[in-house]
């Protein structure tokens, strides 16, 4: 890339788009001519976007790059409410595809200069007339700037069909605006050297088109009858999100069990230390959350089957709900929480479905197991034997 731009020009173009996304929070974004998918790579982190789509003529390139758009390992660990679907299509942008209507933002970064003028005309009709996104960002080289390059050829790249001056680009844009009902603002990235900013402009010129409210309904149903889907979908991935009921439930159950276990341990701690240290009842009380712990109760009498084998602790849902903000956020109400826990095999509840029943293990097992600190042989053997017992043979 041009060595005098820092960060590189191509990164500055991407940052221009990202900046726009951050400020305007579009939900559905399409990158036209996404090539190596490098812009999509960056946009996917901005999770107010819910649908992120890339189109390119070169399906091979897309297939090579698409796996880089898969969710990150960590996206699975703590799913959020944000949802994101990333799709890639192989297609020719002079064709209309019904799946591409109704986007909030369409970008065409360094794309138009690769199109022959006929195609450009058709592309404009497809983009502004048919897809009609709320906003369009188009970037293209500014030929005014070329005088600063030691260019031996007419254009910066051999595949460029044209390179426009600022005037040419702006007049083309104005034309588009009046034809399709948009309003354009011009800027760019890649500053000219000091003193020449005015005379030469940016290395890359950028136009941001906003659809005028009046034009909003004009096109919507005109082509409706003949919806076509000429683009070929090559990639489609949905990021994990709490809006997926299964994921929500799994996350909720995990969170609930974690807190229930934690509260159970605190409760048991309190039970054992409590009777020893009655000297400080006031302080003890101060630590309790609204006297909440009294409500946790032993339930030897609840489940006759368990009674004979183990002791259990019931942790009321209400307490869990009060304690853990994540649970509140995920379930919206205690009733809803209880509802969500129906038929979850890992969770046992009391008859009224108001408390989670947790098995209280033998206290001695505590934090450290028998296999650690002992002089080993005996620890090793006892560990193995423990397993025999756990599975109940012998």
């Amino acid at each position: 890339m041009n060595p005098w731009f820092k960060p590189s020009l191509h990164r500055q173009r991407h940052e221009f788009v990202i900046d726009f996304v951050r400020r305007n929070k579009p939900k559905k974004v399409v990158d036209l001519g996404c090539a190596e998918c490098s812009l999509l790579q960056k946009l996917r982190f901005h999770r107010q976007i819910e649908l992120l789509v890339g189109v390119d003529l070169n399906g091979h390139k897309l297939r090579k790059k698409m796996h880089g758009l898969a969710p990150l390992a960590t996206d699975y660990l703590q799913p959020t409410w944000n949802q994101l679907c990333v799709q890639l299509y192989q297609g020719c942008l002079t064709q209309k595809d019904a799946r591409f209507r109704g986007f909030d933002l369409a970008t065409a970064i360094e794309l138009i200069e690769h199109l022959p003028l006929d195609d450009l005309k058709r592309f404009c009709e497809v983009l502004f007339g048919y897809m009609a996104p709320q906003t369009v960002i188009i970037s293209t080289p500014n030929s005014d700037f070329n005088q600063l390059f030691p260019l031996t050829t007419a254009f910066r790249h051999s595949d460029h069909k044209f390179e426009w001056s600022r005037e040419e680009f702006q007049s083309w844009s104005q034309n588009v605006c009046s034809k399709f009902g948009y309003k354009a603002k011009f800027s760019g990235v890649g500053q000219a050297p000091p003193g020449q900013e005015q005379t030469i402009g940016f290395c890359t010129q950028i136009a941001v088109f906003d659809r005028l409210a009046a034009a909003a309904t004009a096109d919507t149903l005109s082509d409706g009858a003949e919806d076509a889907f000429p683009y070929l979908q090559v990639y489609n991935v949905t990021y994990p999100s709490l809006r997926d009921r299964n994921i929500l439930r799994k996350t909720l159950v995990s969170e609930l069990l974690y807190w229930a276990e934690k509260m159970k341990n605190e409760w048991l701690e309190k039970m054992t230390t409590g009777d020893r240290e009655e000297a400080n009842p006031v302080e003890e009380k101060g630590k309790r959350e609204e006297g909440a712990f009294e409500e946790i109760f032993w339930t030897n009498d609840q489940e006759p089957r368990c009674l004979t084998l183990h002791r259990h602790v019931a942790v009321p849902l209400l307490l869990l709900w009060n304690r853990c903000p994540n649970l509140r956020e995920m379930s919206a109400s205690v009733a809803n929480l209880s509802q969500l826990l129906i038929d979850v095999p890992q969770i046992k509840m009391n008859g009224l479905r108001s408390a989670v029943i947790i098995c209280s293990q033998e206290r001695d097992l505590g934090d450290e197991g028998p296999n650690d600190l002992l002089d080993s042989g005996y620890a090793e053997s006892s560990y193995v034997r423990e397993e025999h017992w756990v599975l109940g043979d012998e």
Partner: protein
Amino acid sequence: MASQEKMPIRGRSRSRGRARGQDPGPPGILSREPAPEVAVKEVGGLVGRGRQKKAPVPFTEEAALEISAGFRQVKIGERGGRRRDFHDGGINTRLTMEHVQTSKTGSSGSAIQLSANFFRIVSRPQWVLYQYHVDFKPPMEARRLRTALLFQHEQVLGSAHCFDGTILFLPQRLDDKVTVLHSRTRNGEDVQLTVTLTNELPPTSPVCLQLYNIIFRRVLRILGLQQIGRNYYNPKDPLNISQHRLTIWPGYATAILQYESSIMLCTDVSHKVLRSETVLNFMENLRQKCGSHNFSDICAKELVGLIVLTKYNNKTYRIDDIAWDQTPFNTFKRGDTDTSFKDYYKNQYGLEITDCNQVLLVSHVKKVAPGQTPPGPALLIPELCYFTGLTDKMRADYTIMKDLSAHTRLGPEQRAGRLLRFSSTLNNDTEALGELQKWGLNFDKQLLKLTGRVLPPERLFQQSRSYGYNPRTADWSKEMRGLPVIHSPPLQNWLLLYTRQKSREAQGLLETLYKVAAPLKISLQKPVMIEYEDHPESLLRTLQHNVRAETQMVVVILNSNRKDKYDCIKKYLCVDCPTPSQCVVARTISRPQALMTIATKIVLQMACKIGGELWSVEIPLKQLMVVGVDCYHDIAAGKRSIGALVASLNQNMNRWYSKVKLQSRGQEIMDGLKMAFAGALKDYYKFNKCFPSRIIVYRDGVGDGQLHTIVNYEVAQIVESIKSIGQDYMPKLSVVVVKKRINCRLFEHSNGKVLNPPPGTVVDSEVTRPEWYDFYIISQAVTFGSVSPTHYNVVYDTSGLKPDHMQRLTYKLCHMYYNWQGIIAVPAPCQYAHKLAFLVGQSLHKEPNVALDDLLFYL
């Protein structure tokens, strides 16, 4: 956690990071360099440095014998540029051993039909890889640019290609030997590319194999698996252990290598433990638990050495330090401007950092991009990081490990089933198949079938009595009941320490000890009973007051298994006041129904700690010294390594000499153990009035990719220390590298069921490597899960011992670990060395007192 099965002796308490070896990282100076790899962007395909990484290994006389298989100079550089050869390729040790040139297989035992977790590769027979050199005129610096320029010519080169910036590999030949191409940069600069054919590689060449592996990793990605560390995992179907906030991802460890007779894909089921909370959550919890006054120490202890994943890329980082003086408001240089971490992550990744007071994590990034100065350490934001794997503390937590193993332990039937399912998923995915077929790759759909042998069970001797054991369970605790042990020094002067609360348990234990000791013919006098206060300081004082020179043994009943008291006892009695000691946690002797069994184990353990000999097997070789070497990497204590050496002192293999060396980071284990080795020889002389005529060294604790150090360096060190005894002393020497943590799995098929092969199963064909003298033995029996064979690689051998004898001797030695009345997974000296290194690394942090050298005090 790689799926580790629980079995009697597997070094469960293994040190963290062992497999990573001793990769001396760059000295870390904290600078305010950018933590985030600002410029690094996913670049597809295969790019990387085409530069060879030379092993910084001093080349010695012996090492000169070692000749690599060639092609080592050509390696495909990958993205990131840094990749060690974890498969120890190109080390051809078998060449140096005359007696195994034609055959390295044994003959004892009965044949057994097995299958293994290997899939044969079915390629075109004449499969050749074409290697081209690509020259750029004018020269282009950036690798990415080079790649882009080259692949403007995809129609000429084809869609299957692999390019690392200089060297290009193609599955087909271009029309001409030299092809000249013209490209243009975006600046309009014309570049001439000359693509010259330099080599045609057969499918067995290391480069080809490396390429297979690279392609296969692509395929795993296509199958939707996520790479974490070296293996690939499926994030879509996690198992949650909610109580501990753990998530387990099932996945696979894979490697394509040249095995004995064909190229195969070795696949094993692996599980990755992740945590569904950020490092920041974890730190907050920790602070709540331990309070803030020594928080920084505790926190560093817990965190350093752990591997984290971040929210903004799929890279793993290892936490090397904590930057207590940094916060997300701190800035780094990005281009020409200073950016704060907070702004950077918000702007680049839309990640809002909510806690602005959190400290930062430091990771020394080892990778250096070509033509750039090494970056400073990466600074990571705890809020944006997730842990992978387990902490040592979690590993020691019985309940966590129990829950984990319940989820991850797979029986042989389940494991084989999963592997076959993997194979069918692979063979049914059109995209994955397409990628493989581009390169002409194709895999067998069935597990590899092979024949192994089951060695006959050994007979055990105790004085004049001998007995056998059930060959399936490989355990003789029942058989030895009531039999006198070979020899036990009478225990006349010993102490029993206990707290007041546990005096009843102490009394109970003592009575039972008398009861069980009598039939074993272990003479036990009345101990001095001492009560102690349950504090480390007062415990230490009690020891100082009561342990005298003539004290033979100290038994301490601990109220709980708090590490501090245990460490305090061991430190005092192993270093300052050398006395064998035995700790017992009160809880374990509180169950009357188990007391007899437990007391038997304790009394046996006490006996061998003071020099007792319990049982023996027949060892046909005379004047033999067996040596075990293992190491422990203490990551918390500044990456110090501990090397332990244990050597047999008598014919029955029941007395052992031991030595430990603590060494600084980056130092080779054998540097310190050279002296220990000579010490062992002298001690052997003291016991036998002669030096051993044969020495067999079992070297454990060798990480993947470290074999070259053993072969090129350690063997020479051993030879040298033997020479130090005298010029004309020329014993026969064998060096065997022992590996337990391997991906090879073996299954027995019997009556339509898939079983673990029985103890004594030996495999020395098909899944071994042609360039090594190696074999697998399953010596232990496991009750749950699938058994993992132990790999033995004889890297140096002047013994002339037949492979069959080497295998049988190795198997015999697995019977000789006195802390387990059964067969263990490794030869006893390895397990002894492991125990010793672990004790020193975990508790002593110092070399034990020389007075204990001849005793198994570390059991």
